[in-house]
Structure formats: structure tokens, C-alpha cells
């Protein structure tokens, strides 16, 4: 084994997009190889958990952890990697704030399993459900157990840095890799622990080229079925664009391409609850004073929880565990 610093990357409850984003850095990936010894990266190389367990505590310099904590396996590995890593980065929206898998927190874990194994799209006439352990002649087979809710990485272990995005933009990943290498070479210093890296300080509007005016919204509309002015702020056109509250860093990709921001970079610096910011901001610029008129306008946002918490639900203040009243 070389004496290069060790690098690890892990995926918990995630889609794999983060890995692809890393590979999308093109030749920059070679810098990783040149500067690091990749010791654990399930998507890219074969490895056993026991190999990681065997490592000395803190022996991995940098771990990029993507995915939320959905199963006991996720949780086990998160704790393990925390123990073995000097720098643990919550990488991508899932690890940061739950992302789309976090929307499962709107439902009970049992409901989720039920939906997965026994709905019209699943042919399961015998009502077979997976079991966490099963005895076969060869011995006992185990699969991970699902946890009641999906948690973000920092709800399970201490996290050093946060790198948002679904996935993080490749140019931001490249910049972070550059930074770490410069730190290794003694040319730069690490930011304070707890910082958000690979993203901007402001919100998407900061990087959005669309023209913006004083806002008064008389209706909320979906993006299709109407003429969209390509140069004007989408929100001003009644499109519920989350860019106003979403951390900058993506170069306003979606609004530039003509689609509204859906918020994958999460809340801006210092914000406690992402959805609350949007609720407040959108409602503030509605042009109505009568409750009925306000309701009529708000009907244009048919699913406010989804609109405001698509990425942030597991990281929100309420975290959307089900309340008692809806339980059967």
C-alpha cells in the first residue's frame, strides 16, 4: 500500500447519481488517483466491510458519504466510516437533507413496505414480505432492517463538511478536489468544521440571468401550458420557482434552461428550515387581502409539502414523522 492519503466514497440510500457526478469531473478523477489511495468505493471497486473495520481509526483522510440513512446497514456503515475517517463529507442532497428518499418520511415505514410489495404494480398473490432473517439449509440469511424514518447523515454521526446538490455539480466537485489537494500540499487551509463546501453563499437568483422586478403574484401556474418569457424571472410569471430560497452554486442550471428550480442545493447559509423560507417568501408577495382570494391563489400550489420539501424533508424542523392522528 502506498503512503498516499486514503480516500473513500460510500452510497447509502441514494440513486448513484452522486458517483456519476464524481466521474463526470472527467480528467480531474485522475488527480484523485494521483493524490489519493482509494481504499473503499463500493460502486467503483470491490471491497468488504470487514476490510474497513480492520483499518485504524482515522486512517482514511477523506470520505465522501452520499445517501440518506434508511436501514440499519446504512447506519452501521455511517458510524464505521465516521470512526475510520478524518474528514467525513455529507456528499449530495440525500446525505445532507434526505432528498427524494426523505419524502418517504411522509409515510409510515410499514406503509412503505406494504406499498413496495403489495400494490397493483407488484404481483404478490401470496402476500410474501421480506424478512430480516431467514433460515435456509446453508444457514441464516440476513438482509438489512428498514428504520422507521430516513435520517440525514448528521442526524446519525458527526459530519465535518456538507456538500449539497442532487447531485453536486461536477465543477464544484472538481473545485473541492482541488482544494483538498492544495491543502495536502500545504497551499491552502481547510474551512472551519461544519462548513458547506462546493456551493455559494447566496441563493440561485444570485446566479440566475433572468431579469427580476418587484414581485406581485396573482396566480401560481405550472410551467407547461403557458407562454414563458425566457428572460423574465419565473416566479414573477407565477411559476413556483424555488430558486429564491435555494443555495447558489449550480449556476442556476434549471432556470437558465427554462425550468423552475426545485431546490436540490438546499437552504441558504444560516437558514433553519428551508420550506418555511419558501412558505414565507411566496405568501409575502401574493397580491390579495381577502382570505378567499388568497385561498384561490394558493390553490395553484396543489402540494405545498412536496413543493417546499422535495429535498429537505428529512432535514426539516418537523421532519415529517407521521402524527398520531393519521395512524389507524
Amino acid at each position: 500500500m502506498s503512503d498516499k492519503p486514503k480516500f473513500a466514497m460510500y452510497w447509502a440510500a441514494s440513486c448513484g447519481g452522486c458517483e456519476i457526478a464524481v466521474l463526470n469531473t472527467n480528467e480531474k478523477i485522475l488527480d484523485v488517483d494521483a493524490n489519493f489511495d482509494v481504499v473503499f468505493w463500493p460502486v467503483a471497486m470491490d471491497a468488504k466491510y470487514k476490510d474497513v473495520e480492520a483499518m485504524q481509526d482515522g486512517s482514511i483522510l477523506l470520505t465522501l458519504f452520499n445517501g440518506g440513512i434508511r436501514t440499519d446497514e446504512n447506519e452501521h456503515i455511517a458510524k464505521l466510516l465516521r470512526q475510520k475517517s478524518k474528514i467525513l463529507v455529507a456528499f449530495g442532497s440525500c446525505a445532507n437533507e434526505g432528498c427524494v428518499p426523505g419524502l418517504a418520511n411522509l409515510s409510515d415505514a410499514r406503509e412503505i413496505v406494504h406499498t413496495a410489495f403489495n400494490t397493483v404494480s407488484t404481483d404478490n398473490p401470496k402476500q410474501v414480505y421480506p424478512m430480516t432473517s431467514y433460515d435456509v439449509p446453508e444457514g441464516e440469511i440476513c438482509i438489512p432492517k428498514i428504520l422507521p424514518t430516513l435520517k440525514t447523515l448528521d442526524q446519525v454521526v458527526d459530519v465535518d463538511y456538507y456538500m449539497p446538490g442532487c447531485p453536486p455539480e461536477s465543477h464544484q466537485i472538481a473545485a473541492v478536489i482541488d482544494l483538498v489537494i492544495q491543502v495536502l500540499q500545504g497551499k491552502a487551509e481547510l474551512p472551519p468544521k461544519g462548513s458547506v463546501i462546493g456551493a455559494g453563499n447566496s441563493t440561485v437568483c444570485d446566479e440566475c440571468q433572468r431579469a427580476r422586478n418587484v414581485k406581485t403574484i396573482t396566480s401560481f401556474n405550472r410551467i407547461f401550458g403557458q407562454e414563458i418569457d425566457p428572460d423574465l424571472c419565473l416566479l414573477e410569471q407565477g411559476i413556483p420557482c424555488n430558486g429564491v430560497a435555494t443555495r447558489s452554486g449550480c449556476n442556476a442550471r434549471c432556470p437558465t434552461a427554462g425550468a423552475q428550480c426545485i431546490g436540490c442545493y438546499g437552504p441558504a447559509e444560516g437558514v433553519v428550515d428551508y420550506g418555511a423560507r419558501l412558505v414565507s417568501a411566496f405568501a409575502s408577495v401574493i397580491d390579495a387581502k381577502e382570505p378567499d382570494e388568497i385561498d384561490r391563489i394558493l390553490d395553484g400550489i396543489p402540494d405545498p409539502a412536496g413543493q417546499f420539501y422535495r429535498f429537505n424533508l428529512a432535514g426539516s424542523l418537523l421532519r415529517a414523522g407521521k402524527s398520531a392522528w393519521e395512524k389507524a
Partner: protein, 683 residues
């Protein structure tokens, strides 16, 4: 860099552990608090259970606001090196200033003190001692969490514009304007009628001394009219008020008089020649006539007449112009238009007065149906030497002198069907009428009252004087006044039907004239006026003072004062006193030249602002502007009033507010919820 979004609240708590040294002071307020809240337990609990949050001392004391109580805090700040102070006592609206000053005296920034209310919001509204004590602990805990996140602040200094606006030219407004003007400062006095004088100008005599109302009022009116420091704007109304204490911008509509003031000499020829007679609903209370061009009364100030275009023959039919033809100075100008004036003032005194209760609403008293039922204001005109009958007290036929007169108290007052409050002046007014009727006609006079209220100096003596004059008093609320006789002796009379509650029997008393001692009620447009000036009205419609006992002159809006009946029914001496008091307040403010105001202001972190412009039209004071070049929004601290709406709206979290920051409030919420109040149930 700050914490990341989803961080758990528990982490936030431990981070600031022990950074501050906090003193917690719990006031007994005699038994006001200590009677319900176990203050000792609260203080001890804070010291023990909140130690990890930085509380180093918890004390309770009989009266924290006393000088000894304040000294206690000052001593602790110095000796225990406190960096934060929490006082649990009364409402911050009462004593926040007291405790901040104590901190300041001990060298601690005054804004590092938090006063939490355990009196108005705990001991006075709860009865269960255990629950109240638990809530007091929660409130203290909220205060501790909040105060940790306080930052040292300096009060903002705002210059005071030396000019003052007085709205309403009745006796209260006149008094206020004169006091300020005499002190050497400029006053704009705005009155919507053609002349100042208000209701007092309509009266004949004033109780209890029976001075002639005009004799004591007109000199003051003339003084106002000629004072170099007073700009008198009659026939004018305030349309809009912008700004805040020290710097109000007021828009006034000066209605077209159709008379050029610079040319008019007030000779009165136009009124004399005007062929159109109109019932004068305002000054003569509907009992007399005026012309279409008129000054409401001979001593009017200013002397210039106004033209009533709704009734003027020229405006109705296009011909006449008698006034123009006869005016010796060509002062009539039919084309004159309303003027809009913009005034800059530092303070405002509102003295817009009252309306008379509409006695037609009490149908059983027959006012408006039975000719010889009069309202108090009608009787004032009737008995006034300058009134329509030259002071002869006669029936509505204009000639017959009544032989028996009934005076009914509490008309429209102390009655849930109309106004539920006591109108204060009606008893004395009724007694005054009794005296005048007795003196001028020798008629038998009955006074019908529920309770005789003659508080204040020399008032009860006046009651006794009227008793002595032989007025008959009947204790009972009059049930009805009718002209339908039941017995021959009732024929041709008005009959006052009433239970004589002291005799315990119903009586029907024939009289010739009934005078309704009509109550006072807020101006019909009081709500709109309140809105225009940013004030609030009580449910009755009177303007709300800052404190009902200790500050009946100020309002919740700094720089705006109230005087006279706009605050509630009152007699002339009280109106004058309040007008003068308001003037004293204004003068005090002007002489400070600048005032300090709470440093509650919003500001934008420009690094974080993305220029999304959500906040741009949220500010009613236009304090938020957008810098096109830099693509960021800015808050002008001089215009900001500190409401915090933009802070709450900023989607990027780029706007923060002093004294009510997100951190402070979130921490307070967490502190408040430290304890829950579920009661253990013994199984």
C-alpha cells in the same frame, strides 16, 4: 460560518453553554405576583436548573422596580460580573425602561436586559398556583434563552421637526395650539368646519359656574386667529399621514371656500344678500337657519365665510351670483378649487371631539316625532341669546313658553341598546338646563335620572343649588314620552312615563317640553381617522390612550397625542387640561431636539442577498430599495420602523433584525417549551 440547516436543536443549546453570566430576578410585586406564583421557587429553580445555561444567580425581591430592587441588580452586575440580566416582573410596556436604566447604570449595555411578564400574563390571569408557577418558570426560561442571544445595541437618534399639527379646533385643540405657539413653536391647526370653536361655541352657559360660554371662549379663538405662530387651516381636512415621530408628512385638503381670503374683509354683505336659506344642522343643531354663503356665527374665527355649494342657487341653477355682485372687494370666486397642502411636522395632537348621540334612535322618547322633545344641543341653542329664539325658551311653535319641563338623563348612554358607557357630562348638563329653565321661565322642572353623578369640584354644590331652586327629581329611567293622553289632565301635554323607583310606582307626568340630556359618542368617522393616524379605537370607538391612568395623553404611536373628547367623554375643564398636557408633551419632545427610539431595525447581509426582490414591495415605509448595479436589496435604517416583515420574508435568510432576531425568538421558543405542564395523575 454558521450551522447547517438540519442541525438538531439540542446541539444549538450546548454550543453556547456557559458563555454568558446571567442574573435572574423575580419580582413579588407585593402580592400581585407572589400571591399566585411561588416566586422563591422560580428564582431557586432558575439558579439551579438553568445553571448550565449560564445563570449564576437567581433572586426574588418584593419590588424589583423600587430603587432598592434596582440597586440589587446593579450590585450583582458589578460584583458577579453579570453579562446578561433577566427580570421576571410586569409587562415590558411598564418597566422595561426602568431595568434597562439599572443595567446601564452598572455599566452593562441596556439591551442585554430582558424583562419577562409574569404579572399581566401569569399571576393576574391564572388561579392555579402550581400551574402558574410552572408557567412562570417557562417564561423565565424563555427569557434566559433569549437574552443569551441579545447583542449590545445603541438607541437610534431621530431629529424632531419643531412644527406641530393640531387636528380639531374645539376647546382642547385651541388650548393645545395656544400653549405650543406661546412657547415659540409653530403650530398648524386644522379644523374641518368653517370656524374654530367646536361644540363649546354652541353653548350658552357652562356648568357649574354658569359663565357665558362665548365670553370665555371667543378671546381664545381670537388669540389663535392672530397668533404669529399659528397657521390656521379651517374648512380643511387631513387626508394622509406618513412618517413617524419627529418627521411626519401630513397631507391636508383645504376645501374651496369660494371666497378669496386675501380680499375678504369679513363684512358680511354676501351673507346678507344671499337669498338661499338653509337649515343649519351643525352650528344651530338643526334649530335655525343660515345662508348658502355663511360664517356659522358672528364671532367665527376666521371671519371669512364659506360657500355651501350643495345649496347655492348658482351651483344648482347657474344663476344668482348675488354675493359676487354685492361683494365690495370682489372676494367671491366661484371657480376656486380645493388645495392640497403638504406639511412637515414633528408631533401631532388629535383633538377631533365627539358627536352628539342621535336621539332619534330612542324611538320611545319620540324625538323627531313629537315636536316638543328637544336634544341637549337644541336646548343650548334655544337658551343662547345668539340663538334662533334670542334666548327665549319656547316650544317648537316658536312662541309658547312651557309651564312644565322634563329633563331626561342618560339618553343613549348607559344603555346596551345604544352606548354602554356613561357620557360623564349629562348629569351636570341636565342640572344646568334645570337651572336655566327655572330662571328664564319659572316653569316646573323635573329631572329624571338613574344615578346622579356630580363628581368634581363644585359640581355637587351645583346639584344642591338646583334642588334648592325647587327642581323635582325623579329617580328612574324614563320609559317613554307620549302625546296620547289617558286622563283628561294629560290632554294637550307630553306625558313622561317613568317608574319613580324611590316611590316604587309608575308615574305619568304631563309636561310641555322635554329636554333629552343626550350623550356623547365618537365622531362618525372616528375609525377612519384612527386608521389614517395609525391609532386604534376601543370597541366603543374612543381613541385608546397609551395607559388609562398613567398616560392618558399619549397613544401607542409615538409622536401622536390625544386631547379632549376624542379619548372619551369629558367636560370642558378636563378637555382644557388634557389639551394643555398634550402641548406640554409636545414641547418636551421639541426641546429634546432629537429623540432616541428603540433600535429595532432590519438590515441586509449583502453577501447573502441574491437580489431576488421578494422583499421589495413589503415595506409600507419604502425603506427597502434595490441596487440595480450590485443586484442587491438595501434597507434604509432611517425609514425602517422595525416591524420585521421583510426579515420573515427573506427566502435567503439574508435580512436580519435587531432586538427580534431569528436566533433570539427561536431560542425563546425553545426556552418556553423547556417544561411541559402535563399534570401527573396518581393512579
Amino acid at each position: 460560518m454558521t450551522q447547517h440547516g438540519g442541525t438538531s436543536p439540542k446541539l444549538a443549546l450546548s454550543e453556547s453553554k456557559g458563555e454568558e453570566r446571567i442574573g435572574v430576578y423575580v419580582c413579588h410585586c407585593g402580592t400581585n405576583i407572589a400571591g399566585v406564583v411561588d416566586v422563591q421557587e422560580v428564582a431557586e429553580w432558575a439558579a439551579a436548573q438553568l445553571e448550565h445555561r449560564g445563570v449564576v444567580i437567581g433572586r426574588e425581591y418584593k419590588f424589583m422596580c423600587s430603587s432598592l430592587g434596582q440597586e440589587l441588580i446593579e450590585k450583582d452586575i458589578k460584583e458577579l460580573e453579570l453579562t446578561r440580566v433577566v427580570v421576571a416582573a410586569c409587562s415590558p410596556h411598564l418597566h422595561e425602561h426602568t431595568f434597562r436604566t439599572a443595567c446601564k447604570n452598572a455599566g452593562l449595555n441596556p439591551y442585554l436586559c430582558e424583562l419577562v411578564s409574569i404579572r399581566e400574563q401569569v399571576s393576574w390571569v391564572h388561579t392555579d398556583k402550581a400551574a402558574a408557577t410552572a408557567k412562570a418558570k417557562a417564561v423565565v426560561s424563555g427569557g434566559v434563552e433569549r437574552v443569551i442571544r441579545h447583542a449590545p445595541l445603541e438607541p437610534l437618534r431621530v431629529p424632531i421637526h419643531p412644527d406641530t399639527l393640531v387636528v380639531g379646533g374645539g376647546i382642547a385643540g385651541i388650548q393645545s395650539a395656544l400653549e405650543i405657539a406661546d412657547a415659540g413653536y409653530h403650530v398648524y391647526l386644522v379644523e374641518r368646519e368653517p370656524s374654530i370653536g367646536g361644540h363649546m361655541a354652541q353653548f350658552d352657559k357652562t356648568f357649574p359656574t354658569l359663565d357665558c360660554s362665548a365670553c370665555i371662549l371667543t378671546p381664545k379663538m381670537v388669540q389663535v386667529g392672530t397668533h404669529p405662530n399659528v397657521t390656521l387651516l379651517t374648512w380643511s381636512e387631513v387626508e394622509k399621514v406618513d412618517g413617524f415621530v419627529g418627521n411626519f408628512t401630513v397631507t391636508v385638503r383645504k376645501k374651496a371656500r369660494k371666497v378669496i381670503e386675501d380680499l375678504c374683509t369679513g363684512c358680511g354683505i354676501c351673507q346678507e344678500k344671499c337669498p338661499k336659506k338653509v337649515i343649519d344642522d351643525v352650528y344651530e343643531a338643526g334649530l335655525g337657519y343660515r345662508k348658502a354663503v355663511y360664517t356659522p356665527f358672528p364671532q367665527a374665527v376666521p371671519k371669512y365665510p364659506v360657500m355651501d355649494v350643495e345649496n347655492c342657487t348658482y351651483f344648482e341653477k347657474g344663476t344668482c351670483k348675488a354675493c359676487e355682485k354685492f361683494c365690495p372687494t370682489n372676494a367671491i370666486d366661484f371657480k376656486q378649487q380645493d388645495e392640497i397642502l403638504t406639511l412637515q411636522v414633528g408631533n401631532i395632537v388629535l383633538a377631533t371631539g365627539y358627536d352628539l348621540f342621535d336621539a332619534r334612535r330612542v324611538t320611545n322618547y319620540g324625538y323627531g316625532r313629537l315636536p316638543n322633545v328637544f336634544t341637549s344641543l337644541e336646548f343650548e341653542r334655544l337658551s343662547n341669546a345668539a340663538g334662533p329664539t334670542n334666548g327665549n325658551i319656547v316650544l317648537r311653535d316658536g312662541k309658547t313658553t312651557p309651564k312644565a319641563v322634563g329633563i331626561v338623563h342618560c339618553v343613549g348612554s348607559r344603555d346596551r341598546n345604544f352606548n354602554n358607557y356613561c357620557s360623564v357630562i349629562c348629569c351636570m348638563q341636565g342640572l344646568k338646563f334645570a337651572h336655566l329653565v327655572h330662571e328664564r321661565t319659572g316653569a316646573i322642572v323635573y329631572n329624571f335620572y338613574i344615578d346622579m353623578r356630580t363628581a368634581y369640584k363644585a359640581y355637587d354644590e351645583f346639584y344642591q343649588r338646583v334642588l334648592e331652586e325647587g327642581t323635582l327629581f325623579v329617580r328612574g329611567k324614563v320609559a317613554e314620552i307620549t302625546d296620547v293622553p289617558r286622563r283628561p289632565d294629560e290632554d294637550g301635554h307630553l306625558i313622561v312615563q317613568v317608574e319613580d323607583t324611590l316611590a316604587g310606582k309608575q308615574r305619568r307626568i304631563p309636561v310641555d317640553m322635554v329636554i333629552l340630556s343626550t350623550g356623547l359618542q365618537p365622531r362618525y368617522d372616528a375609525k377612519e381617522t384612527a386608521k389614517r393616524f395609525g391609532l386604534s379605537c376601543s370597541s366603543d370607538g374612543w381613541f385608546i390612550e397609551k395607559h388609562p391612568k398613567l398616560d392618558p395623553i399619549s397613544t401607542m404611536t409615538e409622536g401622536i397625542y390625544i386631547a379632549g373628547c376624542v379619548q372619551g367623554p369629558k367636560d370642558i375643564p378636563s378637555s382644557v387640561a388634557q389639551g394643555a398636557a398634550a402641548a406640554a408633551r409636545v414641547l418636551g419632545k421639541i426641546q429634546q431636539k432629537e429623540i432616541s427610539i428603540e433600535p429595532v431595525r432590519a438590515s441586509v447581509n449583502q453577501d447573502q442577498c441574491s437580489g431576488c426582490r421578494i422583499c421589495n414591495n413589503l415595506c409600507p415605509y419604502n425603506a427597502i430599495s434595490f441596487d440595480e448595479d450590485r443586484g442587491v436589496s438595501l434597507v434604509n435604517a432611517a425609514l425602517c420602523q422595525g416591524c420585521g416583515t421583510c426579515v420573515a420574508a427573506c427566502p435567503a435568510g439574508a435580512i436580519s433584525g435587531t432586538a427580534f432576531s431569528n436566533d433570539q425568538i427561536l431560542s425563546q421558543i425553545e426556552g418556553l417549551l423547556l417544561l411541559n405542564i402535563d399534570e401527573p395523575v396518581t393512579a
